[in-house]
């Protein structure tokens, strides 16, 4: 279906975000993280993923959201970044949805610039609006 986009939604706090399904490698449960001293604040550390090492990037920090309550359970969305595997801790993973291109729009100009930078487009679903992230930018562990 060329005129639709398959996305995977996930929750950060009470907001719904999404990544293109094609760019999500897998979803794994909590992993033991080794912190990286001196690294930018958005790098939570490194995890071991079946023989490979992934960088854990804090999406909340990238998106200017309040930090996660460490007691709350969470899962990790694993994507292939330009620079190796990246693990994105999220509160929960939602659904895989086919969004018709007609429902995909440019992100509104009212978004804060820091957030807008990471958002590729906005998807209008019947009951909510989902911010579709630009994978490459979202996983870039710059401060």
């Amino acid at each position: 279906m060329p005129d639709s986009l398959r996305i995977c939604t996930f929750l950060l706090g009470d907001r719904t975000f999404a990544l293109p399904v094609a760019e999500v490698r897998e979803v794994v449960k909590d992993l033991e993280t080794t912190p990286v001293p001196l690294a930018p604040g958005s790098v939570l550390g490194l995890v071991h993923l079946r023989g490979q090492i992934a960088t854990v990037v804090d999406l909340r920090r990238r998106l200017d959201l309040p930090p996660r309550d460490p007691q709350e359970p969470h899962v990790n969305v694993v994507v292939q970044g330009a620079d190796g595997l990246v693990c994105l801790p999220v509160d929960d993973v939602g659904d895989v949805i086919d969004v018709p291109s007609s429902a995909v729009e440019r992100p509104p100009d009212t978004l804060r610039p820091a957030v807008r930078e990471l958002v590729r487009s906005i998807c209008k679903l019947h009951d909510e609006l989902v911010l579709l992230l630009d994978t490459a930018r979202a996983v870039d562990p710059s401060p």
């Binding site: 990286v36 690294a39 790098v43 550390g45 995890v47 071991h48 023989g51 090492i53 620079d83």
Partner: protein, 791 residues
Amino acid sequence: MADEVISEFLAEASEILDVLERDLVAVDTGELDPPDVVAGTFRAFHTLKGTSGFLGFEHLGGVAHAGEDLLCAIREGSVQWTRPVTDVLLQVLDALRAIMAEAARTEKDGDNGYPALVAALRSLASPAAAAAAEPAGKPASAAPPAPPPEAPPAPPPAPPLAEEPPRPSFRPTAPPPTLVRPSTPRPPPPAPAPPAAAERAAPPSASPAPSEHVAAAPEKSRSPPPEAHGESGEGAGTLRVPVPVLDRLMSLVGELVLARNQLICQEATREDARLGATTQRIHQLTTGLQEAVMKARMQPIDNVFSRLPRVARDTAQACGKQVRLALQGNETELDKTLLEAIKDPLTHLVRNSVDHGIERAEARLAAGKPAEGTVTVRAFQDGGQVIVEIEDDGGGVNVAKVRAKAVSLGLVGQEEAERLSERETIELVFRPGFSTADAVSQISGRGVGMDVVRTNVERIGGSVEMVSTAGRGSVCRIRVPLTLLIVPALIVASGGERYAVPQANLVELVRVAAERESQMVVDVHGSLVLRLRGTLLPLLDLGKVLGTGSAARAADGALSVVVLGAEGRQFGFLVDEVADTEEIVVKALGRRLQALGAFSGATVRGDGRVALVLDVAGIARRSGLLAEADARAAASAQATRAAAKKPYLILRGRDDGRLAIPLSAVARIEEIAPERVERVGGAEAVQYRGSVLPLVRVAQALTERRKRPRAPEARPEEKLQVVVQEWAGREVGLVVESILDVAEEDVTVDPTRARPGVAGCAVIQGRITEVLDTAALLQAQMGPTQELLRA
């Protein structure tokens, strides 16, 4: 024409040319006689010509044909093999390579027929050439008269080409990035490989000598790796394997090692004898597999060495010197990736030795040395490392010249340059933008040399250092790990996390017991120094550097210090705890994390957690211990005069003033009982380490500004604080009042406040401090003393 056919031809041709080049240079140096190589060279050109014709490479065929004609004339005795013949034949090789490079890109052989070269070949071959050229046109029938069977094993310099009539095709072998492993048992002892079979599989390198048993992966050709060729491996016991397959194998073994480590870790928590036995078995198998795969990736260093004779010859010719190149340890083996990585540095260093190291013949004779200089390149294995030394018997590094050059290039300031020790001065050579040649020569001296050499070698976890003796020559020593992926490492704890330190950086482990701490660790104003057997080592608290808190003590209050070396310097890391050593599989970090300059990678430990691998040189650089980083940045910006932080030893002066000596000038600090001081003439000296150490009392040497000293002279029962430093090739002790501190600061010395023995004033640790010019001070004091000691 299928490009695969072309790329295979190019790969094989490239191998043929490599062997030819080695032979030709060997003739030039007298290691081989022309008759040894005439037949082989003739057939090589002939094969190239034939296949070129078949593939429609007209120019390639033309040049090869002209070369063949010349060889034919030599073989028939109508032309003598002289130096010009070698020269022109080497040019033929260059031309053929150039055409082949063109063919690799375009599948055509370009439009350069090298008419001048062909004419030169013909004129050398004439007058007989005209007659000889004709029959050479259809030599397929004129089977080359088999050359006298070459003396087989010993150093078989001219690997015979396959003893079959040349045919206008080629053997489908040798895709470029391929390793050939002989099936014969490996460590090099000249196991007689089945020669006939080997020849069929890999004609140009079919010698049974271990140093030549691997076909050099041709470096020029860039064709894609074709699939493995079943037919080429048949019967020979040798198989060509594309490198990507080996890479994949290696990375799988890496995974297996990790899984094995985890299994062992989990097994330890269960009480199951059968599980234990199985785990043990898997452990052994994994280790065996790891070794086998690593060996499969190893190649003799000869693959890189083989191109050095030509490099040395060309360089020597270009700068008009007589140089002999001696190669030792050709059979030493190294991981293929590492071998590739040291190829350029090694070439550069040999070129450097010939160009800068070896003197001209007249100068050598005047110095009582043979007119012909020798550059020795030797490789050997030392523990988990391979060491390659490039030694020349030239004039050594001219320290004064290097200093002057560094000052004129703005790499160091004048005063700083004068205070540099010999070792530090030689280190300047590794700074970017440094070039020693008086005039920038064509060969080296382009100023992109030694720093690139060092960067490249360090990138693969190695190191480069240079030692030089004036008048006797220099040695440049490259150390590289045997293999990259799996390295032995020491696991240390800091800030609650575990880190891996590559064993290659490790010098020793030191435990500083609580009661000895005040003597061994000097800590003032945050700069730590470890006193170890009389030497001073800068000490870093790893936790502080990484921002995870300062080092914890063991239960008994002891401190753990890991003494490490990088870039020719030693320093200590203070850690919480030293765990054990472990074989780790190093995985690359993302670019951003790598850019922190503190970690060279990460590894997965037995418990499944990730541990970071410390980049020892990077951390030292971050902390200002290795000034190179600052200097590199500075030099590239052409901005500052290397205002790197430098550590100073801070002393209390006689009149309570503060004095500083650059720590780099200090060899050791000693405490000497006053009764040991003896008088020689008017001077003081002590017996020290088996020789006489002259003493100079700084307080007396400095012309005091005050009329009367405020502080009394050291009480006679007190031990003397002696700063040992090197001066004019010997050690001298400076007796100081007391040592206050070591400060590491960006110091600007104000020379207007200079006085005899003092370079000037500077603000160090926020206080005005006189920076001693120990060289001048010693010169003034020691001139007369030295006479006395000599008498």
